[in-house]
């Protein structure tokens, strides 16, 4: 397995959010502050890596017809772990992320990677795939959080950067999520097409 290529795929050429367009719902919903984005990104990264490893390990003994159900059971197990851990150790983040932590069970990124990667590849490859895809997701979340929190609320991780009367409040509303995500996707596609032309 080529780790370098996997890293590049996870972060750029096959970025889960900006290129594969997976997990858009949570991306728009929770990216109103840096801490939310970090909490969500790291949670998904851990769950994705763990479930990738387990699914890859049991892929030979899972019958083809019930594989989706098996994936869900494995993923739900890890989501429950992470949910309870968050509630126990960082209750503030758990509260602000709310229902979106349990909803990771049905997050397309995790199910998508299980189906398209770890069900077909070895444990080591799946482990790195989980980490890199999770990192790609986290970076997009952080970029969105940075734009929306800084311009929409005027703060960064809770510290006030821009005085209270100036921030463009619409960016913290759902419509701002759509706008920022749309422009990030557009910028990504533009950059990808530029680099293709360069070759």
């Amino acid at each position: 397995m080529n780790i370098g290529r996997q890293l590049k795929e996870g972060l750029i050429t096959q970025n889960p959010v900006l290129v594969q367009m997976l997990g858009l719902c949570s991306t728009m919903a929770i990216t109103t502050s840096i801490m939310n984005g970090l909490g969500m990104g790291v949670s998904v990264l851990i769950i994705l890596t763990a479930s990738n490893v387990v699914i890859s390990a049991i892929r030979k003994i899972v019958p083809d017809k019930i594989r989706i159900a098996m994936f869900i059971v494995v993923i739900a197990g890890f989501v429950t772990c992470v949910d309870l851990l968050l509630q126990a150790f960082v209750p503030a983040i758990a509260e602000s992320l709310g229902v979106f932590i349990p909803l990771i069970v049905v997050n397309c990124i995790i199910l998508g990677r299980a189906e398209s990667f770890s069900y077909k590849n070895g444990v080591a490859g799946s482990f790195f795939d989980g980490i890199f895809q999770g990192l790609g997701y986290t970076l997009v979340l952080l970029a969105m959080c940075f734009i929306r929190e800084l311009l929409g609320a005027g703060t960064l991780a809770g510290f006030r950067i821009i005085p209270e009367q100036f921030p463009i409040g619409v960016l913290t509303l759902p419509v701002g999520g759509f706008l920022v995500l749309g422009f990030l996707i557009a910028a990504m596609q533009w950059a990808l097409s530029k680099s293709k032309e360069g070759k």
Partner: protein, 346 residues
Amino acid sequence: MTDYKNLKLIATSSPHIRGSERTQTIMLDVIIAMLPALIFACFNFGLRALCLTAVSVAGCMFFEWLYQKAMKKPSSVMDLSSVVTGMLLSFVCPVQMPYWMILIGDAFAIIIVKQLFGGIGKNFVNPALAGRAVLLASYAGTMTSWVDPAVNKAAAFGSNVDIVTAATPLAYMKGPDAASIAASFDQLKGTYSVSNMFLGQIGGSMGEVSALLLIVGGVYLIWRKVINWQTPVAYIGTVAVLTFLFPRAGTGVEWMLYSLFGGGLMLGAFFMATDYATSPVTKKGQLVFGIGCGVFTVLIRYFGSYNEGVCYSIMVMNLFVALIDKYTKPVRFGTVKSDKKEASGK
């Protein structure tokens, strides 16, 4: 004598006959049509109206120039379309808003709504309205407090915190139930007469108050063939019919007149809904578009959480333009009936 030997037959592709109309001349006509309302705004709200418009126009031209400079594209600043956007945006904002706020609206309208989608003629909603929608969602407090022109004027420079504000007529025409609407509508009739409403001696966005001067500007545009009559007539007519048939207080005629002259209906119908890039191509389509705008405006005014629905109704209908164009496409000349189905099916 003609030198037949050296005469060349020059064959070029169409068009062979060119009109004198340019984007620039059309936009200049729109600017001229808006001037009466701008002059009235200065008279009504004070000199700040002129300053705000100037800042907004300069902002729009600057952002257009900046984007095209950064992207190394040919500059279209001189086609005056950004001037029109800047004027329209300042027209739909309250006069006492800070100058930096309207610059944010300008930047959003020009860079995000207009240029990122391909520049003039390719924006999917009206840039000025999108700028206003963003400002309204971001700074709801400032965007919904209106200077009372009968009491005081806005200061051109410095702070306007101690200015007396008043509710717009549309705020009086909204309420939780029929009894409260009837009471506040009576209050409105006591405050502003119909002629006040028509002339524009009322509170509201800077350029929307004077129905008379906006109609004058609109008629000028129709006379100059810059816009067709279909969109504004269908729009205003639909609002008139609906408010006449379903008044929420008073008699039908009274309610209709206050609905027509209050808020941004005239400005929206003549100057916003007729934007070339975001309205249908065919006249039939423009009728449909105008009626849709009217229905949405009345629905938002009656049942929505905002007092005014013109901005959102035009933006919603902007999104339907591609669909309207698809279904109002004229049949090509010479198409036989049996071919029609095939042609329209495409």
